[in-house]
Amino acid sequence: MDKLKIRNRLAKDKALKWGVCLLAALTAIPLFAILGEVFWRGYDQLSWSFLTEPTPTAYKAMKAIEAGEPIPGGIANGIIGTMLMLGMAAVVAVPIGILCGAFLAENPKNRFAQTVSYLTDLLQGTPSVIIGIVVYIWVVVPMKGYSAIAGSVALFVMMLPLIIRSTEETLKILPASLKEAGLALGGNRARVMLKVQLPAAFGGIFTGILLAISRVIGETAPLMFTALGCSFIRFAVDKPISAVPLLIWEFFNDPNLQELIWGASLFLLLFVLTLNLTAKYLAKRWNQ
């Protein structure tokens, strides 16, 4: 009887272990399924001209399909739009985010800092589509039109909390002796922050910036209400502009352009995953 009971318990133990392993392994399947599908359907579209030419019109694409040729053109307008808006957003979000993160790390007990910390969580959890609505109200309505500026404001708002958090956390895990040594040598707090703490935290902050970029680069919904999209290459910041995720959305909705979905998706996916893996690698090296 006892023996049976023990056998039963051991069997349960084994069952749980194998169940956990099996289900955990199953979780990896979607990643490979998605990567596989995007690679498989997209790799033959990626070419130099795909990356350097703007999107074709639906008419041109239709002609090419009728003639049985590959659709001409590519996603250069989206790549340039994405880079332009990301650049503008990052130029503002990185310094402000670092300063704000430094504020949180320097005043952990302060009432105001706790409020700021709470608001950072709030903003980070806000669905991106709502950021899109808000920036539409903030920027698109007063400017009487969609623009690259509006798009970059939306990306800025999404990047900001991510950079603040990573800066704060990196600064907080630096040994206190580092700051104390700097102060003991006669540096004031600004100097110690600039010459000792920030350089020591550089790896963590840089990783945070990379992750923030990879997080917002694929955002579609907020750009639909702010940057809108544009079918040719453009550098004007006060006019509608395209972005890679916006192009994917356009291709998805236009039966004539559906062939282009996978090349654009592969490009976006490669970009995001490379950024992600680089960030992870840097974080690991920096931790050692």
């Binding site: 806000t126 669905p127 589509v129 903030w138 708002v157 919904a221 994917i248």
Partner: protein, 285 residues
């Protein structure tokens, strides 16, 4: 730069958060006001009409609130049987090993895939599968959207739960082992009770993510403005109705969409706040 100036500089930079968050709330409230004034707050929440025929416009948020709650709840149900094993795998069974690191990299990468690509995959792979299995004739709907949503929130729930499972003190587990417990019993009687509130809070935060997910749901839910009557029927979530109609809307419809945005904002803010508070408590305990 002296300390005083330095403090002021940091303080001014930190003011950006109250300004941005205040701006978000102000913009949403002022622009949603028209809809709430026209229909009444509770009427707007409980009405299931969504018609934009000129003259007899009628907007209510109930179908979309229902759609959001259904997709989120289903996604949570589908997510648990996978995220919990991943958390146990990484945080208990293979804690600190190479294979655990590989699995967490895999889930991290899953978290990094943009939602529009999840939507494409759902549309071109999962939807035909659902049609082939005769689950629903049109393929898209609440169920399809929830399945993909579940995959998207697994990484969030799993990585945070794993963190709490890892923190369970070894001496507690060793105590149970020395009494003759098997590993399964240790997990059930020691790990879950100790890490339980942390694991629970990680699911709350996963819900917070699922609530506002936009593109995936928009591409898969079928986009009909009625209250879904079963899990295979089509519908719209709060985020997806905004994504679908915001660009073409004006006046009262625009205000109604912004009102839905405000409601969604309040729900996610509330859920995230609860999750964060619980996590803080679980970390201290």
């Amino acid at each position: 730069m002296n300390d005083k100036l330095y403090n002021i500089l940091l303080f001014v930079a930190a003011l950006i958060m109250p300004v941005v968050c205040g701006g978000v709330v102000y913009a949403l409230v002022t622009d949603a006001y028209e809809a709430f004034e026209h229909f009444g707050f509770f009427k707007f929440l409980t009405s299931s009409e969504w018609s934009y025929t000129e003259g007899s416009e009628q907007y209510g948020a109930l179908p979309f609130i229902t759609g959001t709650l259904m997709t989120t709840l289903l996604a949570l149900i589908f997510c648990i049987p996978f995220s919990l094993p991943v958390a146990l795998f990484v945080g208990e069974y293979f804690k600190g090993t190479r294979i655990a690191a590989i699995l967490s990299t895999v889930t991290d990468l899953l978290a990094g895939i943009p939602s529009i690509i999840y939507g494409l995959w759902g549309f071109y792979t999962l939807r035909p599968l659902i049609m082939a299995l005769n689950i629903s004739p049109q393929g898209s709907g609440i169920l399809t959207a929830s399945l993909v949503l579940a995959i998207m929130i697994v990484p969030y729930a799993a990585s945070l739960s794993a963190e709490f499972i890892k923190m369970v003190p070894n001496d507690l587990k060793e105590g149970a082992y020395s009494l003759g417990a098997t590993r399964a019993e240790v997990i059930r009687k020691v790990v879950f009770p100790v890490a339980g509130s942390g694991i629970f809070s990680s699911y709350i935060l996963a819900i917070g993510r699922a609530l506002g997910e936009t593109m995936t749901v928009t591409m898969l839910i079928g986009n009909t403005n009625n209250i879904p009557d079963s899990i295979t029927s089509t519908g719209n979530s709060m985020a997806s109705i905004i994504a679908n109609q915001f660009g073409e809307a004006d006046d009262l419809r625009l205000s109604s969409l912004i009102a839905i945005g405000l409601i969604l904002f309040m729900i996610t803010a509330f859920i995230n706040m609860i999750g964060k508070i619980m996590i803080k408590r679980a970390r201290i305990a």
